[in-house]
Symmetry: C2
Amino acid sequence: MAALDSVLNDIDKDLDNALERLFAFLRIPSISTDQAYAPHCREAAAWLAADLTALGFETSVEETSLHPVVLAHKPKPGAPHVLFYGHYDVQPVDPLDLWETPPFEPRIATDAKGEKTIVARGASDDKGQVMTFVEACRAHLAMNAELPCAVTILIEGAEENGSQGLPEWVARNKDRLAADVVLVCDTSMWNPTTPAITSSLRGLAYFEVEVTCADRDLHSGFFGGAARNPIHVLSRILADLHDDDGKVTLPGFYDGVRERPPEVLEQWRGLDFTPETFLGPIGLSEPAGERGRLLIELVQSRPACDVNGIIGGYTGEGTKTVIAGKASAKVSFRLVDDQDPQKLAETFEAFVRARIPADCSVNVICYKGSRAISLPFDMPELETARAALQDEWGVPAVTVGAGGSIPIVGDFKRLLDRNTLLIGFGLDDDRIHSPNEKYDLRSFHKGTRSWARILSALGARRGH
Amino acid sequence: MAALDSVLNDIDKDLDNALERLFAFLRIPSISTDQAYAPHCREAAAWLAADLTALGFETSVEETSLHPVVLAHKPKPGAPHVLFYGHYDVQPVDPLDLWETPPFEPRIATDAKGEKTIVARGASDDKGQVMTFVEACRAHLAMNAELPCAVTILIEGAEENGSQGLPEWVARNKDRLAADVVLVCDTSMWNPTTPAITSSLRGLAYFEVEVTCADRDLHSGFFGGAARNPIHVLSRILADLHDDDGKVTLPGFYDGVRERPPEVLEQWRGLDFTPETFLGPIGLSEPAGERGRLLIELVQSRPACDVNGIIGGYTGEGTKTVIAGKASAKVSFRLVDDQDPQKLAETFEAFVRARIPADCSVNVICYKGSRAISLPFDMPELETARAALQDEWGVPAVTVGAGGSIPIVGDFKRLLDRNTLLIGFGLDDDRIHSPNEKYDLRSFHKGTRSWARILSALGARRGH
């Protein structure tokens, strides 16, 4: 095999072409949570399948109960076998008017720090990250006509919709997903110059609450003071979810949450993770949430509850003297350790129902939940990948917990009995899920180089 | 002059033509609160001005700071002089998908009780009601070539937007509005067979509260538990507005609110105004608001606070794990007796600001407020109108308070020193401000006949 250097050189030389390919992928508005975009999800799957087929992967697009998955194999008998997972679907783009340029017209911009960025919905989450792995494979194949490891690639289309349909598909296709380790590129670096391997992920439970009072909208002059207002009912429920110390008030909510050992807390205190560094860039200065906790605890090892959306009554310009018939909110919980999303669903619904007046009604929708996960610190692939990352970035990779959820990682453990290395090149200011999402050009370029190195290093591991 | 009977006969015979005219008026989407509809407001003013000109009124369309007013005069030296006020603007139509037919395509429907209704936005509030007066004038003019009284008609286009610009216009044009009494047709009957004269109106104070936390939308996985959520801040503010007994908690809110005398409460207890009759038709059974009060007190003589709209974060289909940067709500108060909207604005803003975290901000918009008004029971025109209404409906007209606000009525008193007779033919189930607004055909027909009688009776009053 050609030296790794030639692969890395090829990545450097081919960067403009790699960007062109990524831009084509980013132009497809594959929003998974809105059925109106289902054809575009299918289009994104087809685009990716065509690209992997061209690279010589045995590729298929396979149906699930929601959007299709792309499955691609490049066997290598006797070599270590990796399963790479990512997603081609993206978040909705609203509020659209806050985008500086259209979300599905990718462009290169230069940010305030002079850093070149790729701006588009999905640039970071997760199309840009997925393509770092694909481009690393492309360079190995261009230089050597083969990959250092056997590689299976599974790219789904419903991650932003709770990976609907994927666990069932994985359960039906276990044999086709055999591998030694799972690789995922859907997480962040520690900071713009320090790579990170994510060793734990918070779980998620997501609900929608729709309160109905009168069977129609009412004139607040006629009925104000006499008819129940669903926005009042809903506000009371939402306000009741936290106490004055920022703790979630649901009975038993903290069951299964463990305190971190003193040595971990001590280590965390030494990190430069302060309100200034973490909240300053988004215009805030005071941690919300549970009082008396380290900021890093709040986002990595403590559960949290957020109202993700609320709507009711008149929300247009000016005034309307209306009492709405209905009001609704989306409420989600980030879970840690052994918190049980199923138990939480029951507690939450009871909490809500206890606050609904007798002549009103409520519909509680429970979206798919996921438990928190954590990886074993003694995974052999962890040290291999850490060394490869250090070779690329010049500094040791940090092992961190992450606040967000990637539900399928728990399913890989449960269904395939395989651990997952979460290595990503996103940055905290990537505005994923927000207007003007971006991915640093450096993340894309050095991310690709990082995967080329990790594949080489994993392929060279003894014992296979 | 021809007998009143011939005028009433003419109204009966001309009903189909009157409906055609009303339908043309209803087809104009004159939504005042949304600037996108400003040209349609102007179109509605022009339509009305053309109709009144054709009737022989000296008519002009005059600018205000928002939408124009229509002013029309039909002098009659030596006769009593009435000023009729109404509005050609209508409420917004959302949620549009709840309309059974398009809101600006008026039609005749038959309701569950077999009653014929006119269905369209503005059918009741206020185009249908305005046209009862115009059609009464038309019939008098057709039969007699003159009206029983001198008539000035003032129709504004911003009533649903707090009558923005109208008080200033009235102040500048006092001389052109000289009259003995003001007539308004923008209120309801007591029930479908009993007419009502409204003797008091609640005032209104209307606010919008926009809370800003982070300077962008955030991923709730990364930031949940650490970043302040504006929907939480807003929910807390809204929940805090009422105590467990349904009382508004703003300091000094009940200053200036008077208890009704025991004999009034006794009379109210005798009315058939119960949760079954008032709340049953809208699908509710339990009065909200202050505990321990009669239901009729709650809507007529007690102040109230309602959140009229709320929005923040993701409100589309499915899920999005976002912490919004902003959230906003519209909050209004119905005022009674001597409650001061200006003082309330200060109290409300202080109440809101006290609940904003140090690193967040809030913008409180204060829309135009109006004090409550009540009319003197010894107005001579009151008895004249009551007798005319009884002639038409066969039962005595009830004198009632109304929950809604017509801000300009207070301005007529203040600026013109004239009292207002509020006589309307709407019904509580007209769904004004809601989808599928309707006006009973009987309200339109007998309302027109009622005004014909009232004009005759007022014209015949001695002392002019």
